[in-house]
């Protein structure tokens, strides 16, 4: 799948088959995050790949709209340094998330980010140290509705080009 096709067809997937992700695909997704770009190539992130069902369920309770994590075959917690220290930390987490999710889509897997609104609860579940912070987790899995993988882009799913793009200045 070429890049433009992945970008055009990718959509959020929140319901997954009860089917494990093969190890080589797990590795490919995480490696895409590792290969992502970051401010000054700092790579100021750590990834916790979660496949344990009880842990997935526990993390799904750390955000109001994070229930999809409970049914994921894998979730990836993107740990960053204190997001209030540098604005680049969250931006770079977003870049890594996009790399992982596009890589997964090419391999036939859906995904969706989940916001973590109870980060200290998540810390106690995952056991990461005080200098790392969690705001976003990604769910991954084979879509329950496999047609999503080859469906045409949804009409009206995005704002119009001219509503978003300005030329040279506002």
């Amino acid at each position: 799948m070429n890049v433009s096709e992945a970008i055009l067809t990718k959509r959020a997937v929140r319901k997954f088959q009860d089917k494990a992700i093969p190890d080589d695909i797990v590795h490919a997704i995480l490696n895409a995050g590792r290969r992502s770009q970051s401010s000054k190539n700092n790579q100021a992130w750590q990834f916790i790949a979660i496949r344990d069902k009880e842990t997935l369920k526990a993390i799904s309770t750390c955000g109001e709209w994070a229930s999809h994590v409970a049914g994921a075959a894998m979730a990836v917690a993107i740990l960053i340094p204190d997001p209030n220290e540098k604005f680049q930390h969250l931006f770079d987490a977003g870049q890594a998330a996009a790399f992982m999710q596009l890589a997964a889509w090419e391999l036939g897997l859906g995904s969706c980010p989940a916001s973590i609104y109870e980060p200290e609860k998540a810390r106690s579940i995952l056991g990461f140290p005080a200098e790392w912070h969690l705001r976003l987790v990604l769910s991954f899995g084979y879509p329950l509705d496999e047609k999503l993988l080859s469906a045409p882009p949804q009409k009206g799913g995005r704002r119009d080009f001219d509503d978003v793009v300005h030329w040279d200045r506002w």
Copy 2:
């Protein structure tokens, strides 16, 4: 170019040829950002595509390491709502940035993000209103060193997989 190849080979490009980007490619890059995913599909962004040479030069003075913007064929300023309001704004800007940069790479263009440390100076140059905020600009252009587009990944360019990935918990 498939997604995995783009992710594996993409590198930061900061020196560009003095060569304009055709309109259809400009459109494809911006459209990749428009198609990107965002928290609750909010699409809380506006893009200013800058090709005017004087504006590019002016923006290149708004960040300590932003000089590459001056030589870009195009820069894209990613405007977001107040980043202190919701942590998702910067994360989603990062996702859109990754989509645009991977789309550009497939089309033979290099790119690099530039942090904006003088956002109010940038505001006065670009004229965007108070409810929008700028922290990151992306440079785009044809690489001065065209070999970069097909070069193998740099050795040691990223931390080792096992230094970044944890399994199920820290």
